[in-house]
Symmetry: C2
Subunit: 260 residues, 2 copies
């Protein structure tokens, strides 16, 4: 077993968490407060950026369907900043290691010989479960939880979804990231692949923020008439572990969603 090496980092990949500034870790807040440059995604909330008082803030957010040349620009900006400053923060929504393109950016820094540290963050699915007062795992029911993202245009998609559907059918929980535009199609597809149409699904927007909203209902209802989504980040939770939350919500939420 080896101990981690300790060399002073110049760049910090910091998980900004789901949105609320007080869901940053103490470590993240301390580093952001002394940062000289903060490169942040579009979805990092303003209240988090307010902590970066000293920093030059650079928005490098790329949203779905924008050209991915953006990634090369981010890598280059990160390296340029690190050559000018010994405290650069790369702020990523949620946890940097969950759908955060962390690897590409770490690789760019390694190639440039720049030291860095990763500060983990609260991932959206954890915050979503907290908001629903549900547990992602449930003893003797949900013995696994899987996070994935739909890439409906991609040939590798089935290889990713088949085990996820298997896990769901075995009682496991799915957390689906960046699925805002694909909810109805995804719900329909799950049903076609044998997931019971009564399986609970919750759709949460802007988790942890004052304008947080959630919907919970059956997979069939999400396929037939998903709730309208605004501009905030969306995370879905699907699985038997949500059954209690669905029962507590009763019929009210489903009606609201269907009227939307």
């Amino acid at each position: 077993m080896s101990r981690p090496c300790t060399e002073a980092p110049r760049v910090y990949f910091v998980g900004a968490g789901p949105g609320a500034a007080d869901l940053l870790t103490l470590r993240a807040a301390r580093i952001i407060e002394r940062a000289e440059f903060v490169l942040h995604d579009a979805l990092v909330h303003a209240s988090v950026l307010e902590l970066a008082r000293r920093a030059q803030q650079i928005s490098v957010g790329k949203r779905a369907q924008r050209p991915s040349t953006a990634q090369r620009f981010i890598n280059k900006t990160l390296v340029d900043c690190a050559r000018k400053s010994s405290c650069v923060v790369r702020l990523k929504g949620g946890d940097p290691s969950v759908f955060g393109r962390l690897d590409e950016e770490m690789q760019a820094l390694r190639s440039a010989g720049i030291t860095f540290e990763v500060v983990p963050g609260i991932t959206a699915a954890s915050a979503a479960a907290a908001e629903l007062q549900a547990s992602l795992t449930l003893r003797a029911v949900a013995r696994a939880v899987t996070f994935l993202t739909p890439c409906v245009c991609d040939e590798h998609d089935d290889a990713t979804w088949a085990p996820a559907i298997g896990s769901l059918r075995a009682g496991g929980t799915l957390g689906v990231y960046m699925a805002g535009r694909h909810i109805a199609a995804m719900a329909q597809r799950l049903i076609e692949h044998g997931v019971p149409s009564a399986m609970p699904i919750s759709i949460l927007e802007s988790v942890s923020l004052p304008n947080s909203r959630h919907w919970i209902g059956a997979l069939a209802a999400a396929a037939a008439s998903p709730p309208e989504i605004g501009g905030g980040p969306v995370v879905l939770l699907i699985g038997e572990a949500l059954r209690g939350a669905q029962q507590r919500a009763g019929e009210r939420d489903i009606e609201i969603a269907q009227a939307a």
Copy 2:
């Protein structure tokens, strides 16, 4: 879509994160500091408990293979404390919604009519990835990440592991919790189920703490001679997403592990 209701909670289920006190969220730290009672698991680190200056601290930790009557005792203690105080913290290692028996305890409070809130925490797999400077997901490789725990004595085990193995074979990442006693058997079983014996696996103990240690190597090496584990919490990461971390570690770690 509905807005979350807001009624003053008496009990806070708080994620203590992986160990280091500064990986608590700002919200968690603030609540712990004003708590009157803190009920904590055995694996919550002393540096986190130091924040609970005002609180009566009650250790309710149950470790593997201890009688599960412990859960009824925890539920009862939680309800008793909440009847005496309006700020009770139930502190759970990592994120409360990931293998935290959160549901049973929330249900006990609901039955007693006691309001509560869940404060998410950094789950061990996120902190482990940060420590390895690896990403749990990897574009075009690891399109899903699954957290699970081995229950080798249980008839439902195969239903949980089959999709996880499918995900691993499709490039996905596994985070395995509470697996300290089962590493060699689990690695052997994965190989028998068709996971390549060269698949990278990392074994991390006491992630984020000063005595943190990690080992990284091939699944076959973990099956043949797993590293010795101490008394700290252990999390495993398995998958192609660890390939880079394994290559950076080189051969050195594997030799140390085989000598252990």
